[in-house]
Structures are given as structure tokens and as C-alpha cells.
């Protein structure tokens, strides 16, 4: 049965101060699924995760069980790495998940590590999350002391180790190969793919990188079964979805919701509507890397496939009349991304909003590839003048052509992450940019 508003898996302990401790977590059923998982064969766990249609909550929405299946069967050493670098603007769920329920993440990781036969595992936590790091590190120590972690987990002979690794400030370290380089003690610059981490990752070994929310769902799948989890969701997306709603709504917040809920429902029913009695003008559906929706596109569900394919969402254009090609003629509409929903009301200065987004990407480019390093800086410069009432004739086409030159031509997806919203905003709010430029001419 699909989940309903109010059914909570990964956020069920939010607000319960005691659940942060091992005793509090166990008192609410914690670590009971781990015992069941340890008695299962690793491949059976992976099969349940495949059947669950759990999809990665870090941004790309890739099927988790399928990813786990890419680890070569004859691998000598495998690693599981949790991506807790959360820094996509608009996204604020992983920090809360760690804060309220660190042991659920640890339990999910031990189960996943057993499924992957991964002995040495890491949580890469963003450097700025200082108190969250303390909470997590304390929880890991408790789990070791109780025998949930170590060379002989609960006397089963299975070894699972877990180390919390602090970052030091760099958005790009959320990209999984940059994260692995950073974990290895290098500058956090992305690696060329292939090889993908599942084949050659941390220290040269097959490595699975999963998001915090993704891993926290694993205990529920093992407890109640993949089929049950799949039915909670919609289409090919199992489970619930955490959305982080920010911007111009009356009640912003982090909410665990059914996959099929629409943006209109989220804004009106969950978040008390747009503030000051205004209307929504633009909605970023999943972190600033994603093209925005306009007011006519909000009846679409926040589910992964719907956001990519629902024809009620207009395709992103390079210029009027020329559709952006995602490869093989596929249209780019938008994507579910990280769950960061940013609502902008009808009085928002859209060119200025795009400028702020591009300022971020220009700051965070790691500088390895020319199109991204030069392109994000140039985009920011043009967007800045348009957003500050100093735009020139031709700036819209200039921004579009710079963005088009970046997209698809870089080592990692940060380049696309700067290009896509640029093209998306220009496609859907072209008049706003034209008006901003005209204002200057006048």
C-alpha cells in the first residue's frame, strides 16, 4: 500500500532526545533488524534491496540494489562509504537524520556492509557539521562497545569496522569520486569515470558510496521485505521521500512524505501555502542543480521518474526553438535530485536568484576542467550584471551559449549542475531576464 502523509520510517525518531543514545535507540526496537540481517546470506539482502526499488537519495536516484550488484564477485576487499557531505543548496535532511537518529544510520551501514562483504567502512561527514560529527562519533563508539561493530559482530565472525571521517569545507567533496579522493587524503577533485567506484574506488578497491537517507532505509527493507517497501512508493521508486522545503512558504521544514505527493500539495497542504498570501512563481524541485518548475508545472509528483518524463513539465531549451539534448535526443525536464525544494513567490527577482546560484557554482568548481572552471566564472559574471540591473543586450543568449558549452563536457556533474538551472531559468522566465536588461536601457 502506498505510504500516506504521516507514515514515517527514517524520521520516526525525530524529536525523541533519548533515541540519540544506544539505550534509547534499542528501547525503540533499534538493532533488532541487524540480528536478522546477520543470519541472512549477503546476496539475499542485496536481492531484497533490488526488489524494494530503493533509489539513491543523494541526487542521481540510481537504484541502490543494482549499484550494489556492480561489485565484482571475486573482490578481495570492498568498502562502503556513506556520503554525509550534504551541501547542495536547499537540502537539509541528512544533517537532521544524523542529529536525531545516528544509530539508524549505523545499523543500516552494518547491514549494507554485510551484504557487500565490506570490512572497512567510512562515513564522510561535512566539516562544518561539528556537533553532528560529535553525535555520530559518540554513537559509533557505543556501537563498538556493545559489539555491533568490530572484528566479530555479535559473535557471528563477521567483521565490520566503521570510521567517521571529517571533511573540511568543499561542496565538490559530495561528488562521490571527489569524496573518495578527499578520504584518501588528497585534494577533493573528482576522478574520471569509468572506472566507477563500484569497480575501483577507495584505495583502489570496489567501493559503494551511498547517501545517508539511502542507507537509513535499509533496515526497514530487511525487516519488512523489499516488496513491502516497493509498495509504499510509486512506479519504480520504493519507499517514502524526504523533502526539505525552504523559501517563501508559511511553514518551511523537513518532511517525510509519500513519493506520489505533488508540489501543489506539498506547498499548500504541508507547508501552509506561499507566504504573505502570494503565489508561487518558481520552484526548484531538488536542490539548485536542477532546472526549476514554473507555476503551471506544480501538479507533478515529486517522484524520480515523473520529474524526468512528465510531459506537463516543459523541456529545457538552449534558445527558443532549440531543445536541450540530454543525449540521444532525450529532453531535459528536471530531476528529483536531493529533495531540496525551494519555493519562490511571485515577487522574486528571478535574475538575482539565478545569479546567487551561479555564484555558488563558480565558487565551488574544483578547477580541473576548462569548461567548468572558466564557464562557471563567466556565467556568474554575466548573471551578476543582469541580476544587478546592469545587463547588456545579448546577455541572455550569451549565458545560454556558455551554459550549453559546459553541459556534458566536464569530468563531473558539477558542470551540468551549473548549466542546467541556467538554461532552465532562461527557458521558463525569459521575460524576467529581458525586463531586467531593458530596465537598464531605459
Amino acid at each position: 500500500m502506498p505510504a500516506s502523509v504521516g507514515s514515517h520510517l527514517v524520521t520516526q525518531r525525530f524529536g525523541d532526545e533519548k533515541a540519540r543514545t544506544l539505550a534509547g535507540y534499542e528501547a525503540t526496537g533499534g538493532y533488532s533488524v541487524l540480528r536478522k540481517a546477520l543470519s541472512m546470506r549477503p546476496e539475499d539482502i542485496t536481492n531484497e534491496v533490488k526488489a524494494s526499488n530503493l533509489r539513491g537519495r543523494g541526487g542521481a536516484g540510481f537504484a541502490t540494489g543494482v549499484k550494489w550488484g556492480f561489485v565484482p564477485k571475486d573482490a578481495k576487499e570492498v568498502h562502503l562509504v556513506c556520503n554525509a557531505d550534504e551541501s547542495e543548496p536547499g537540502t537539509c535532511k541528512d544533517r537532521l537524520l544524523i542529529w536525531w537518529d545516528p544509530h539508524l544510520l549505523i545499523e543500516g551501514m552494518i547491514i549494507a556492509a554485510h551484504a557487500l562483504k565490506a570490512k572497512h567502512n567510512y562515513i564522510y561527514i561535512r566539516g562544518e557539521m561539528m556537533r553532528e560529527y560529535q553525535v555520530l562519533d559518540a554513537a559509533v563508539k557505543e556501537a563498538y562497545a556493545r559489539g555491533y561493530l568490530g572484528d566479530n559482530v555479535l559473535g557471528t565472525g563477521i567483521a565490520v569496522h566503521l570510521t567517521v571521517h571529517r571533511g573540511a569545507g568543499a561542496y565538490i567533496c559530495g561528488e562521490e569520486t571527489a569524496l573518495l579522493n578527499s578520504l584518501e587524503g588528497l585534494r577533493g577533485q573528482p576522478r574520471l569515470k569509468p572506472p566507477f567506484p563500484a569497480v575501483k574506488g577507495l584505495f583502489g578497491n570496489p567501493t559503494i558510496v551511498n547517501n545517508v537517507e539511502t542507507l537509513m532505509n535499509v533496515p526497514f527493507i530487511v525487516d519488512k521485505g523489499g516488496a513491502w517497501f516497493n509498495e509504499l512508493g510509486m512506479g519504480r521508486s520504493g519507499g517514502t521521500r524526504i523533502v526539505c522545503v525552504s523559501g517563501h512558504v508559511n511553514k518551511p521544514g523537513v518532511f517525510e512524505l509519500p513519493m506520489g505527493i505533488t508540489f501543489t500539495q506539498i506547498i499548500n497542504d504541508i507547508c501552509g501555502g506561499v507566504w504573505k498570501g502570494r503565489k508561487a512563481k518558481a520552484v526548484i524541485p531538488g536542490g539548485v542543480s536542477m532546472p526549476p518548475l514554473d507555476a503551471s508545472e506544480l501538479d507533478v509528483p515529486c517522484e524520480f521518474d515523473a520529474l524526468q518524463t512528465d510531459e506537463r513539465i516543459k523541456p529545457v531549451m538552449v534558445r527558443p526553438g532549440q531543445q536541450f539534448d540530454l543525449g540521444g535526443g532525450r529532453a531535459l525536464r528536471t530531476m528529483a535530485g536531493s529533495g531540496g525544494i525551494v519555493v519562490m513567490d511571485d515577487q522574486t527577482d528571478i535574475p538575482r536568484a539565478l545569479w546567487r546560484i551561479l555564484k555558488f557554482f563558480a565558487h565551488e568548481s574544483c578547477g580541473q576542467c576548462t569548461p567548468c572552471r572558466e564557464g562557471t566564472g563567466w556565467l556568474e559574471k554575466v548573471a551578476r550584471r543582469v541580476g544587478h540591473g546592469e545587463g547588456k543586450e545579448g546577455d541572455i543568449d550569451l549565458m545560454a551559449s556558455i551554459a550549453h558549452g559546459i553541459a556534458g563536457n566536464t569530468i563531473c556533474a558539477l558542470g551540468d549542475a551549473a548549466a542546467w538551472p541556467t538554461l532552465g531559468f532562461l527557458t521558463k522566465f525569459r521575460e524576467d531576464f529581458e525586463a531586467a536588461i531593458k530596465r537598464r536601457a531605459a
Binding site: 562544518e128 556537533r131 569545507g169 578520504l183 587524503g185 585534494r187 584505495f203 517563501h248 536568484a353
Partner: protein
């Protein structure tokens, strides 16, 4: 001047080295510790990290200059990181940043002995925008009028970032 780590920091580094196949992955932790104990990452502090982990100086330099939390110059005892990214901007983040600048008598990026003021990118509290990380603590839903109290509270009850390292 040759710098040293405290005994406690040396112990932490030794324990961490046991968690990885080589010492190299400990470089971020060692840099955090060096910054905590020596205030900023001077050339000597980088040499200390290089020596401790048997890494080339150039490698440590390259790493230290990649990440925004590390500083090569002295700064304030506490850092105020004010987010102005999209969700915070939409709810007045720039106005709050201006209020911090005025209250501290610092421009963004500047320091005095007590404080460093940073214009920060998203700090993952967007639903409580505008927000800031002051020392090790998050403050939420800030209005410009509250800035004076926030700074006074930090002066009374400091939480420098080094306390979590």
C-alpha cells in the same frame, strides 16, 4: 620555528592512523588539529603535519589550500558563518550579513581577535533560513535585530570550532 603537537593531539593522530591502510588519509584530521593548536596553518604548521604523517610538504600544502575551513593566516577566536545562499537570501540573509558586519565592525572575510566573519554557502539548515553557524552552534531564523544578542551570547559563552576537533 619548529612547531609541535600536544601529547593529546599526537595520541589522536596515532589512533586515527590505525583506521586506514596508510597515514595519508589522516591529513585532514591532522590539519584540523594543527589549526586548533596553532591558530592557523602557517608554513611551520604545514611542515609539522607533513613531518608527522611522512608526507611531502607540497602535498600537505596542496590539501590545506583546497578546503575552506583551513586558514593560512591568523583569524578570530570564533568564526561566524552566515549563509547567503538561495534559501537564506530569499528570507533576508544578506540583510542579516550586513547586520553582522555592522555589529562586528568587520566586512565579510575579515577578522579581529575575537571573530572571523564568513559569508558562507548553504549550511544545510535551509528550512530555518536565514541561518548561521556561530562557533560550533547553529542559529536559526535570524532577523537583523537579533544579531546583537547573538554576538553578545558568543562573547559570554564562546564555542570555538577547535572544541570539536
Amino acid at each position: 620555528m619548529s612547531l609541535e603537537f600536544s601529547a593529546q593531539a599526537q595520541q589522536k593522530i596515532a589512533a586515527l592512523c590505525g583506521r586506514y591502510p596508510t597515514k595519508k588519509p589522516v591529513v585532514l584530521a591532522a590539519l584540523h588539529l594543527a589549526q586548533k593548536e596553532h591558530g592557523h596553518l602557517s608554513d611551520d604548521a604545514l611542515r609539522l603535519v607533513a613531518r608527522t604523517l611522512d608526507l611531502p610538504y607540497a602535498h600537505v600544502y596542496g590539501v590545506a589550500t583546497f578546503y575552506t575551513m583551513f586558514r593560512r593566516e591568523p583569524g578570530g577566536a570564533q568564526t561566524i558563518r552566515m549563509c547567503t545562499n538561495i534559501s537564506c537570501m530569499l528570507r533576508g540573509g544578506y540583510e542579516v550579513l550586513a547586520a553582522f558586519e555592522q555589529r562586528l565592525g568587520l566586512k565579510k572575510g575579515e577578522s579581529n581577535a575575537k571573530f572571523t566573519l564568513v559569508e558562507e554557502e548553504c549550511i544545510a539548515a535551509c528550512d530555518k533560513a536565514p541561518c548561521a553557524l556561530v562557533g560550533t552552534k547553529y542559529v536559526y531564523d535570524i532577523t537583523p535585530a537579533q544579531v546583537g544578542d547573538i554576538v553578545a551570547e558568543l562573547e559570554r559563552d564562546p564555542h570555538p570550532e577547535g572544541e570539536v576537533v
